[in-house]
Amino acid sequence: MARIDLDNLAHSYFPDPKGDEDYALRRMEHVWEDGGAYALLGPSGCGKTTLLNIISGLLTPSHGKVLFDGKDVTNLAPEQRNIAQVFQFPVIYDTMTVYENLAFPLRNRGVDEKRVHARVHEIAEMLDLSGKLKQKARGLGADEKQTISLGRGLVRDDVSAILFDEPLTVIDPHLKWVLRRKLKEIHNKLRPTMVYVTHDQIEALTFADKVVVMYGGKVVQLGTPQELFENPAHTFVGYFIGSPGMNIMPCNIDDGAAWIDGQRIALSDQQLTALGKASGKTELGIRPEFVRLHTEGQAPEGSIEVNIVKVEDLGQFKIATTRFGTTELKVKVGEDQQIVGQSGFLQFPQEWTKIYADSQLVA
């Protein structure tokens, strides 16, 4: 297992990239700690797969270096880097049995048969494939095939990292859960460095200790699921993580407060100091979970009056769409709270109100 450093890395598919937009991967510094379970989360086309292929060696980056435990592997081929990769579609060798599939990477490296036998049985045991070792691999279901792909990575005990490229795309929903749990189990047992690419936030948040969110070829935030939720460093993270995503509204800063559509929202002193140094388009973001909606009684201090446009009841909670001026704002309301009438008051708790300048978190 290994620590992976990305040193000043960038990649462009064009031979002579000009502007930033020619880069599939913008310049980045990044460290994947040894034994960590990372998820690489982002929308399609944000550069996740490019980054993964650079780490695995299927792609040579146009700029920068990849280091495994401090050793430069940028120009090494995949088989020399000792990484394993599980692809979106299960890759198995059709004509081989499950046993032969699992033994393949070892046999290719000239490991002696006794050792192969022991390793394959050990891994098969771990992946619940023991009963199927003699079967032809082609007759198995997609989830079992994907397990075999994973197993081919695990049999080698010299593997530095296991990379997953949206591995659950073709798996039935009820089996996704089983496989995810299996992955987690394996991670706890063997502690390999795992990098898991996905565009599904639930997958990312349940699998990983640390989530790396990518957007437009850049890493916009690295953090635990909780950090991503409570403290999005970029408006994209706020919007992409959570369901519904963060409310993001353009605002003006004036007179010690943020103004949205003529409504005043008080900010903390710390936010105001930070704003003094920042420049660019300012936006205010707050998660629907943290806005408070009052529909009964007096208007609380510092609240703004809104119309309630729509209420969706999702069982355990309700999502109310409110409007003031031309601004729409979603509020997550507990199932037990009654929503009375067509209007109400919104409160913005200061600790959950985030200010962004040019999409970057200010405070």
Partner: protein, 290 residues
């Protein structure tokens, strides 16, 4: 479940029945009819039972033609299949080269059979043919009208030239359908070039190869036009294959009875070989599923 009996439904099957009857069953039955009769002239005919079949089955010239035919079909398959796979593997996967190669490869397939025969007949001639002249020039005594080995090889090379493209195109289509992830996974697994071919490319080409082998077997087993134009079955009987022998019997000597019996046996051989081949391959595939 209660079965509903509605005999009117049979009327719906009638059109198909007629078409199949006219296109296949009636012509076949005519041949069966000929094969059990001795027809002297349109009015005079005798029922002879299995006599023609017996005669055909004991005809040594036919045995020779059959052996020649089997040898020829086997050679065709043994050369064209590996060669086709080999060429398909070396073709470019993208860029302008793809279309260029496709056009070049498709060309021989577009040429009518007897034109192919004529092309090679001229090409192989020692006096005016480029190939024949060149071979003789470098000291090889090559004359397909006199040497049976030369004639045989010429027919074989001609077939390879004409039909390898078909195998190439089929294999190429099979290769293109392999997702990149397979090659990437193989790289990561440390597979050698041979292992990639053996465990990824060959299995993925299996289904198209079955079609390719069947097509090339049937076609080569029934080959007629090209050797007819090129060598006329000679020298001697060196390139007289089954079709040629059959035509000589039916059209040349007007032995309709034996020729009909021969046709039926010929047909059964092809059917049998294809069936056996197909069943064996498909069973091998299915055993893997279990």
């Amino acid at each position: 479940m209660n079965k509903i009996t509605n005999n009117k439904a049979w009327f719906l099957v009638l059109p198909v029945f007629f078409i199949v009857a006219i296109s296949a069953i009636i012509p076949l039955m005519t041949v069966v009819n000929y094969s059990v009769q001795d027809i002297l002239d349109p009015q005079t005919r005798y029922f002879v039972g299995t006599e023609w079949f017996k005669r055909i089955l004991t005809d040594y010239r036919l045995h020779e033609a059959l052996l020649r035919q089997i040898g020829y079909s086997l050679s065709v398959l043994l050369i064209e299949i590996p060669l086709g796979i080999g060429i398909a593997l070396t073709l470019p996967r993208k860029g302008w080269g793809v279309s260029a190669c496709m056009v070049l490869l498709a060309l021989p397939l577009l040429i009518p059979w007897n034109v192919v025969g004529t092309i090679w007949q001229i090409f192989g001639r020692a006096d005016i043919g480029l190939g024949g002249y060149f071979l003789n020039k470098i000291g090889i005594d090559y004359n397909y009208t006199q040497s049976s080995v030369a004639a045989w090889l010429t027919v074989l090379v001609m077939d390879v030239w004409h039909w390898t493209s078909l195998i190439v195109l089929l294999c190429y289509a099979g290769l293109r359908s392999i997702p990149d992830a397979y090659y990437q996974a193989a790289k990561i697994d440390g597979a050698s070039r041979w292992a990639v071919f053996r465990f990824i490319q060959l299995p993925k080409m299996q289904s198209v190869l079955v079609i390719g082998v069947l097509l090339r077997f049937m076609d080569s087993f029934m080959i007629y036009t090209e050797p007819f134009v090129l060598t006329g079955g000679g020298p001697g009987n060196a390139t007289t294959f089954l079709s040629q022998y059959l035509t000589r019997m039916a059209v040349g000597q007007f032995d309709i009875g034996p020729a009909a019996a021969f046709s039926l046996i010929y047909f059964l051989i092809i059917l049998l070989v294809c069936w056996v081949f197909y069943t064996v391959v498909m069973n091998a595939g299915q055993r893997g599923e279990q």
